[in-house]
């Protein structure tokens, strides 16, 4: 539309007549085109500004291109516009040369004066004719008119009566009845004469004259003679040409202003249309040029967001097209690499999950430490052994772990030299002490191979990516082994010692029976004491051997529902307070039943109470508090039996190994009482613990599960530890 408007402007601007005839259409087309282009430009500009503010890809480039194009177009257009205006105005003004105007006026004046001479001549001629006609009337007047008209060369001679009616007329052509014009009458009334040059059309002119006829007919009033004289064709054409040229010049001069305005408007419209077209074209070109770059930017953004399925449409066969092709190739390769990476990642995740599952099911503690001495991985078993939830503290530094308690502290202190040292492999045993108890850990550390990335401490002199610590709590295993060894010793001692005891006793008794009666009294007394001592010691040794046997023996367990409160009450009754014996106080929960071997529980209670009695031996006002109650620990319900005494308490050095055989702080006893207690408790799946009371005295607490979990604790412990060692190997 803009181009059509420009073409119309160019075509009609050169022809003012056509322009004037179609100027409304031209203006409408141009204004519509300008409005459409302006609207298009505003819409484009709006979109561009919005994209610019939104920082859309390519918006800045488009804005720059549009500004550049418009700037490049505007400057020359404005220069051409102002020069064209100057040229047009100057050119139009130059058309109206004062000399030309003067010459045209002179030519017109010359023609006019030439015709005036003729007119004056014809006026004089008319005056003469009027005098010649005198007082003629009627037919004489008609004949005279005809003759005189022919003589004078007039085209028409008419005599008007005072009432302006035609008195007589002679004409060379057939025309309408002649009449006196208002002008003629006015001039005749004023000047007594009238002369006028009248155009006839087709470059023909005539001179009309009228005079008052001098008459001697007073009663008839004044008559008028009107004559019409033709002007020669040649003179008429020349005069008409001069008049026509002058008129056209005057018209052009008059239209000079509108012509300038018209051309100015035309040029302005051309400028406006050109500018708007250029701006619209600039938007189009900028969009076209920036489109591949915007597409590239959008594709890059999509790739940055992880969309590797983006493919850009192929561009033209130029550098940008090549760039798009390279981009598509790169995206394809990136997509493949990402897929491979994702697959590897998934594989790694699966491996990691498997490792985590394996680590989680291990009873062996595993801790992986990074080069920065921070925990990377720690399984549940590691936390359980050290009493700290290490799995939840992944990422914590070893120093932070060491501050969590005495066990982790000792563990870290024991392991740190082997982690930071140059040894790649280390195996050993760590003994941790807490609350009088000992925890023995079999521990192995191993440096993880580094990738040489320099993550390790440069001062270490060797790059490694950290270390892994594998450790196992072998305390129970060692105890079990020791107990098993003691059981074997006891069994052999019982077997080896018990057998000769009976012959020794029999021999001693035989010596006594045979020689005592025959010996002197003094010798007899010696023999009697000696044999008595032998028998007594043999009996003592038998008791000891029996105790050994009892410790080593593991009779079948018979489980039944046992009223624990009643059982405690029965056993405690046997130790009811007697003279010199400690007072036994009971605090029992009624109806406390467990599933257990009643014989073993009874023996357990005996040993506990006897242990307390022995602890209070020689102490006045000794009190033994026995309590039994049910407690819930986690999901299991236990029966808890606590036996407290107000004795001197347990030697702290003994406390850690209290339940081992032959560990005692008392002068009496075999040292097997509490070892048997522990064995019985473990056979029932329970636990036993000893502690010194704050003021004085000691407390032994036994927990037996309410629901029977009878097992051979020692054997099971052995098996579990053996399995662990196998797994670790």
């Amino acid at each position: 539309m803009g181009v059509a408007a420009l073409v119309m402007l160019g075509r009609y601007a050169s022809s003012p007549a056509d322009f004037g005839r179609r100027h409304v259409l031209i203006l409408a087309v141009n204004v519509t085109a300008a409005a459409a282009l302006l609207a298009l430009m505003i819409v484009n500009l709006f979109h561009l500004v919005r994209a610019y503010r939104r920082r859309a890809p390519g918006a800045r480039l488009r804005a720059r291109l549009v500004g550049m194009f418009v700037g490049l177009t505007l400057a020359p257009l404005l220069v051409v516009y102002f020069f064209a205006l100057q040229f047009v105005n100057g050119g139009i003004d130059s058309w109206f040369d004062s000399d030309l105007e003067q010459e045209l006026s002179s030519a017109l004046r010359l023609s006019r004066e030439s015709l005036d001479v003729q007119a004056t001549s014809h006026l004089l001629q008319t005056t003469a004719l009027a005098a010649a006609l005198g007082n003629l009337d009627g037919d004489a007047l008609s004949r005279a008119l005809s003759v005189l008209r022919a003589d004078a060369g007039a085209e028409e001679l008419t005599v008007f009566n005072p009432d302006l009616r035609v008195a007589s007329s002679s004409s060379g052509t057939e025309t309408l009845p002649p009449s006196l014009s208002e002008d003629a009458l006015k001039n005749l009334g004023h000047n007594q004469r009238f002369v006028a040059l009248e155009p006839q059309g087709n470059a023909r002119y005539q001179i009309r004259t009228a005079v008052v006829m001098p008459g001697d007919v007073p009663e008839a009033g004044q008559r008028y003679l009107q004559a019409v004289f033709p002007i020669g064709d040649r003179q008429g054409r020349l005069a008409d040409a001069v008049q026509d040229t002058y008129t056209r010049y005057a018209e052009l001069r008059f239209l000079r202003g509108p012509l300038k305005d018209n051309l100015t408007v035309t040029l302005s419209l051309v400028l406006l249309l050109s500018l708007l077209s250029a701006a619209t074209g600039a938007f189009y070109l900028a969009r076209r040029l920036a489109a591949p770059i915007e597409s590239l930017a959008a594709g890059t953004e999509a790739v940055a967001k992880g969309d590797f399925d983006t493919r850009l449409p192929p561009g033209a066969a130029d550098e940008v097209g090549l760039l798009i092709e390279s981009f598509n190739g790169m995206i394809e390769r990136l997509g493949r690499a990402r897929e491979e990476s994702r697959s590897s990642q998934q594989q790694l995740e699966r491996e990691r999950a498997n490792l985590a599952t394996i680590l989680g099911r291990l009873s062996t503690g595993v801790i992986a430490i990074g080069a920065d001495s921070r925990i990377r991985i720690a399984n549940d078993a590691a936390g359980a052994i050290l009493g700290v939830d290490l799995a939840a503290r992944a990422g914590a530094a070893l120093e932070e772990i060491a501050e969590l308690g005495p066990l982790p502290g000792q563990f870290v202190d024991a392991c740190r030299p082997h982690i930071a040292g140059e040894l790649r492999e280390w195996r050993g045993q760590i003994v941790l002490r807490t609350d009088g108890a000992r925890r023995i850990l079999n521990c192995a550390t191993s440096s993880l191979p580094g990738d040489g990335s320099g993550a390790a401490d440069p001062g270490a002199g060797d790059f490694h990516a950290g270390a892994i610590i594998v450790f196992d709590d072998v305390t129970e295993l060692l105890v079990a082994q020791r107990e098993a060894a003691w059981g074997e010793v006891a069994r052999r001692l019982a077997h080896e010692i018990k057998n000769p005891l009976t012959p020794i006793r029999l021999a001693a008794e035989r010596i006594r029976r045979r020689y005592l009666p025959t010996m002197a009294e003094e010798d007899g007394q010696i023999l009697d004491r000696s044999t008595h001592t032998i028998v007594q010691q043999v009996e003592a040794m038998r008791d000891m051997v029996n105790a050994f046997s009892e410790y080593a023996r593991a009779p079948a367990v018979t489980v039944a529902r046992v009223d624990l409160s009643q059982l405690v009450r029965e056993v405690a009754w046997l130790y009811r307070a007697q003279e010199g014996q400690p007072l036994v106080k009971l605090a029992l929960e009624d109806g406390l039943e467990i599933e257990a071997d009643a014989v073993r529980v009874r023996q357990l209670l005996h040993n506990l109470i006897r242990n307390a009695q022995e602890a209070l031996e020689g102490q006045s006002e000794g009190v033994i508090d026995i309590a039994a109650r049910s407690i819930v620990d986690g999901e299991r319900t236990f029966a808890e039996i606590s036996v407290r005494d107000n004795g001197p308490g347990i030697d702290p050095e003994v406390l850690a190994r209290l339940f081992e055989p032959y560990v005692t702080s008392k002068n009496k006893g075999t040292g097997l009482g509490l070892a048997i207690v522990k064995k019985l408790v473990e056979e029932h799946g329970g636990t036993v613990a000893a502690e010194n009371l704050p003021n004085h005295g000691a407390s032994l607490v036994v927990r037996l599960p309410v629901r029977a979990v009878i097992r051979d604790a020692v054997n099971e412990s052995r098996m579990t530890l053996a399995e662990n060692w196998r797994e670790r190997a």
């Binding site: 322009f19 004037g20 100027h23 040059l197 008049q243 010049y249 509108p258």
Partner: protein, 201 residues
């Protein structure tokens, strides 16, 4: 001590002066509008020998722009528009006949006079003054309107007459100027009168 009796015009006086000035401008505008333009003074029809003739007196008062154009050699064409419509009850009037007469008024530099030419018939009359030319232009005498046989008898008709300056006959550039400039828009109001046809003779 001499007393100063001179008074400054107050706001009321200024308001009155402004009102008077505004009124004067409006009045001058009205006068100007009345001074220029086309106006039909009277018009009539008469039946003569089976033909209806129209006679009218029209005032042609040229404004400065049109007068400038005329005296710079641009001929002015005036169009006489005549409409004959049959009056109908409850319905719009029915157009029966339409007549257009064109008269050209031009300045003749050679004779220093004005020429009035009937563009329909080709008749022309020269006048030495503009007044005489406009007077001639405004005098319509016995212009044949319609043959009586072409219209119904005993029927009411309405004759409408209007004179306008035909801008289409102006030079192209001036026509463009006339599109924007009202000074080249000269037209009279429609002048209407009734025409009652009688019984056939």
């Amino acid at each position: 001590m001499q007393k100063n009796n001179s008074r400054h015009p107050g706001p009321r006086a200024a308001f009155v002066a402004a009102f008077v000035a505004l009124f004067g401008m409006l009045f001058a505008g009205v006068l100007h509008a009345q001074e220029t333009g086309l106006e039909i003074r009277n018009a009539s029809t008469r039946l003569d020998a089976g033909v209806w003739y129209l006679s009218a007196r029209i005032d042609y008062r040229l404004n400065r722009d049109t007068l400038d154009a005329l005296q710079n050699g641009i001929p002015l064409t005036f169009e006489l528009q005549v409409e004959l419509a049959k009056v109908r009850n409850w319905l719009p009037d029915e157009d029966v006949a339409s007549l257009r007469q064109y008269y050209e008024l031009s300045w003749q530099p050679l004779s220093r006079g004005y020429l009035v030419r009937n563009k329909n018939s080709g008749d022309q009359r020269a006048h030495s003054t503009l007044f005489a030319a406009l007077n001639d232009l405004g005098r319509i005498t016995d212009l044949p309107l319609i043959d009586a046989a072409l219209i119904d008898e005993n029927t009411d008709y309405v004759v409408s007459l209007r004179a306008v300056l035909d801008q289409q006959q102006l030079p192209g550039l001036l026509r463009m100027l006339a599109f924007w400039d009202d000074d080249f828009t000269l037209e009279s109001e429609w002048y209407r009168w009734n025409l009652r046809t009688g019984q056939p003779p």
